[in-house]
């Protein structure tokens, strides 16, 4: 029961125990715990950040989608407008072309008429000369009467 030298032994044991704990037990355990704490905190922060970023990306995607839709609608309406214009344009062109063709045809016809008239006039002139020859029963100097014949021909042309 009495206090004796065991006390000294116990104190030495205790001191060694504390020294060892201080040196080799406490720091590594504490460090590991702190590191884990930091890791968890980092992980949570990263998760938060990821969530935030996902929200942002979602928002961006929605915006992009809406923009794309708008663009598509724009393009479609533009195309419709353009198609209308094209139709209108081709109508115009066709009409112009038709008009042009009509004009050309008319010109052709006019020319044809002119030619025909010319031909007829010549023939009539020839016929008239032949007829005059036959009527006069005489040699007619064609060169001497050219003037009269031309006059005649002109009068025929005016018909």
């Amino acid at each position: 029961m009495s206090i004796n030298a065991t006390l000294i032994g116990q104190m030495i044991t205790f001191a060694l125990l504390v020294w060892f704990t201080m040196k080799f037990v406490w720091p590594p355990l504490m460090q590991a715990m702190e590191e884990r704490q930091k890791k968890i905190a980092d992980g949570l922060a990263a998760a938060d950040k990821g969530k935030h970023e996902m929200e942002l990306a979602e928002k961006r995607a929605t915006a992009l989608l809406r923009q794309a839709k708008e663009q598509a609608a724009d393009i479609v309406s533009l195309a419709q407008k353009r198609a209308g214009e094209l139709v209108e344009e081709s109508k115009q062109t066709a009409k112009q072309e038709g008009d042009r063709m009509i004009v050309a045809a008319k010109a052709e016809i006019d020319r044809e008429i002119q030619n025909t008239r010319e031909g007829l006039r010549q023939q009539v002139a020839t016929l008239a000369v032949t007829a005059a020859e036959q009527i006069l029963q005489r040699e007619v100097d064609q060169n001497r009467h050219r003037e009269i014949l031309d006059e005649f021909g002109k009068q025929l042309g005016q018909v």
């Binding site: 004796n4 032994g9 116990q10 044991t13 125990l17 704990t21 037990v25 406490w26 355990l29 504490m30």
Partner: protein, 258 residues
């Protein structure tokens, strides 16, 4: 065993036998071999287990051993952080050593009182007291070490002059210096004494009751010793906890000016 003890020396003989340490030497230079051996052995167990945990430490998912060690470390660290607001590399590991070591020494109380003495007798050792914390030398060994730490930190933090001033001038000012000193000395010395005696008293009484229960007829023993053992699980933890917390509090007081 109880009947055997009755034959040899009666109930008193049995109790005295169980409370007598295995000792060598004379007078002051007596060594309680059982106390020294078991406390050193238990300290060794504590160091081995915690050193293993510290060596295999991982920052990822901890294993069972590491979990256990970390739980204790965190618990002790929480206690230290609650009471002690300075920075010290000593106090937290010291508290962990105190808590686990005292707990292990107290735990020896729960081993059947006759088991180790019986084994020892077969090796020719007449006496064996297995609970180191029922030895005043063990409890005073710790409390005096703590006392020295308190003195050391008091002087280190406050300086020799500040420490002397606190010893002489508080609580009643400079006209009551002798009285102040007397009060302060009582206060300082009451700490290690109360620390050691509280632990010793609790463990000694607990062990004594186990021994008394062991004296009863065998069919009554379980009825009494089982509840007492269950209750004792609380006691040993509580005593280790009290010793640790008071150590932290005393050391934090040593770090603060009053």
């Amino acid at each position: 065993m109880a009947t055997e003890a009755h034959e040899t020396g009666g109930a008193t003989g049995y109790i005295v036998h169980h409370l007598t340490p295995l000792s060598v030497g004379e007078g002051f230079w007596t060594f309680h071999l059982d106390t020294l051996f078991f406390s050193a052995f238990l300290g060794f167990v504590f160091l081995i287990v915690f050193r293993m945990a510290a060596l295999r430490v991982v920052t990822g998912v901890p294993g069972t051993l590491q979990n256990f060690a970390e739980m204790l470390v965190e618990f002790v660290d929480g206690q230290v952080k609650d009471a002690f607001h300075g920075k010290s590399a000593v106090i937290a590991p010291l508290s962990l050593s105190i808590f686990v070591w005292i707990w292990l020494m107290n735990f020896m109380d729960l081993i059947p009182v006759d088991l180790f003495p019986l084994i020892a007798t077969s090796f020719g050792l007449e006496y064996l007291r297995v609970v180191p914390s029922t030895d005043l030398n063990a409890t005073f060994g710790m409390s005096i070490a703590v006392f020295f730490l308190i003195l050391f930190y008091s002087i280190k933090v406050k300086g020799p002059i500040g420490f002397a001033r606190e010893m002489l001038l508080s609580p009643f000012g400079k006209w009551m210096i002798p009285f102040n000193l007397l009060l302060k000395l009582v206060e300082e010395f009451a700490r290690p004494v109360s620390l050691a005696l509280r632990l010793f008293g609790n463990m000694y009484a607990g062990e004594l009751i186990f021994i008394l229960i062991a004296l009863l007829p065998w069919f009554i023993q379980p009825v009494l010793s089982f509840p007492w053992a269950v209750f004792h699980i609380l006691i040993i933890t509580l005593q280790a906890f009290i010793f640790m917390v008071l150590t932290i509090v005393y050391l934090s007081l040593a770090h603060e000016d009053h």
